[in-house]
């Protein structure tokens, strides 16, 4: 279980996280939506430790992880994909996963090979396993983000806009993959603008705006809420 207790972060005068309280029950799939600049990716950086909160606590399975480094949090079971793909350019696709499986996933070299093979198969990257990651086109880089996050064997997986730019068929495939991962008991927090893909997976939806949670609950109800209409349709509050 992952808990955020009134987590706040500001960059100068800009509040990117404003006393956020959020709980992800083990094995839950949670969707996060919100306009650009709402603080969605910042939320992920706070959870994974790339940013330290100015105030508040982050607790994983009852243990306070607020002071832990990103690498320690990954080892503790938090995996993430980056919105803008961050591959290790001079390593092959397989090697990108291998480093994640051995360090984040704690696997031996031999076990890592099998695990990475499975993850490449699952994400449709197996045919490109030996290409340099830096030579991949954008969509494959996004697949690599997912595959590498999975290679760390996360119990909580943070996905940051991985469906954008996909065709309907590819998007369908991705949704199936994420459902498969979720069915294995992995908790998921998914930031996504492709709302129909998101709604096919998540059980709960959170709406962020100006670093605040402005609505949350059952996805269908949240999507009909006044807050979402205000933000996305410009209907005055």
């Amino acid at each position: 279980m992952l808990e955020l207790h009134s987590v706040s972060k500001t960059f100068g005068a800009i509040v990117v996280a404003d006393a956020i309280d959020l709980t992800l029950v083990s094995g839950e799939a949670l969707g996060v939506i919100g306009p650009n600049g709402a603080g969605k990716s910042t939320l992920f950086n706070l959870i994974t430790g790339l940013l330290r909160p100015d105030a508040g606590r982050i607790v994983l399975d009852g243990v306070d992880i607020t002071g832990l480094s990103p690498e320690a949090r990954c080892r503790a079971g938090i995996g993430r994909s980056f919105q803008i793909p961050q591959p290790f350019d001079h390593l092959s696709v397989f090697e990108n996963l291998a480093v994640a499986a051995q360090f984040g996933g704690g696997l031996s070299e031999t076990d890592a090979v099998q695990h990475c093979g499975l993850m490449l198969d699952l994400t449709g990257l197996e045919a490109k396993a030996n290409r340099l990651a830096g030579s991949l086109p954008l969509l494959d880089r996004k697949r690599l983000e997912l595959a590498r996050a999975l290679a760390t064997r996360p119990r909580t997986l943070l996905l940051d806009e991985i469906a954008g730019g996909l065709t309907d068929a590819e998007c369908h495939q991705l949704v199936e993959t994420i459902r498969t991962i979720h069915a294995e008991g992995v908790g998921i927090i998914w930031i996504e603008h492709v709302v129909h893909a998101l709604l096919a997976v998540v059980q709960r939806l959170v709406v962020l705006n100006f670093g605040k949670i402005v609505a949350q609950g059952v996805p269908s109800e949240v999507m009909r809420s006044r807050e979402v209409e205000t933000i996305y349709m410009g209907v005055p509050a």
Binding site: E71, T180, A200
Partner: protein, 364 residues
Amino acid sequence: MSVESIDMPASREQRAVEAPVWQVRVGTRLSRVAAVAGIALVVVLAALPAFAPRNLIQDLIFVLTMLTLAQLWNVLAGWGGLVSVGQQAFVGLGAYALFAGIVMAGLDPVAAIPLAGLFAAVIAAVLGPLLFRLEGPYFAIGSWVAAEALRLICAQFKSLGGGTGMSISPSELSQMVGLKTVQALLGLRPAAARDVLVYWLALLLAVLVTLGIYAFIRSRHGLALAASRDNAAAARSVGVRTARIRHMLWIAVAFATGMVGAVVYLQKARISPDAAFSVTDWTAYVIFIVVIGGVRTIEGPMVGVLLLWGLVTYLAQYGSLYLVVLGTLAILIMLFMPRGAWGAAARRWQVQLFPTQRWLGRSR
């Protein structure tokens, strides 16, 4: 919206347990041939003093020590992304530690070499946390400044010759471990025997450092280092302790660089702060070797050092023109062969004598 769920979980777990579906290979048939050829070459080099003239042995001491420094810089900057312009600091510290060990502590020169490496490593461990606060070009400048500071500190030790330096007398070196054996074995005078002994030490160091680096690059830690270099934030997010691995590499490289410094100055038997901490001799030439040979390959520094040796041998008579040629060559290679001479050849003909990429394939 309904999506069919697929029953992957159970079958995935089972497949992993049953039999390995995937396998990884790194070596090729060519690399195995190269390994055998490499062993043969080392044996020939080890036997060389029996029939080679003394000036060739002296030249090869230069080649082997420069090769070792180039391999070390390559792993630090090429694989690790730590572009240091201050490696002369560790050459100088190793050299001074050797002289201090011999003159002040009365140590045997051969025994003092690993201690010299250790001394350089300790200083590197102290400097590391300061320098790693800087990134990219700032780190490069910082490492250079640190080296200059250490040069000035070494110049303060009057007992080690201060700013003008000092020499070790042949008599102090005549009792060196192994020297009498070499003299008797090859029928040489003490000075020539010392060259042979230093040559063997340089050869040993070059072989150990090259193999050590190659093994490291192929290990999980080598992978973690490459990931840290390519993208530190992403590496941390997949569980790599980027700061620790860089620091360990920095110390290990300083240790070996210090030993090279000790070996070089054991042969020279004369030291001064300006020479031992020379950025030109111990860093600029080293970067030249790696750049013209090919960065981020084990073969690159080997090719590079042979090119440099050739240039030094045939152009030295032309005085300063020689430096103009070196500079021009470096610029041309950077423009037209950014991967260096070996890198370009390896790409053109698809050859790798020391392959590093892990190739994934299905077992069946």
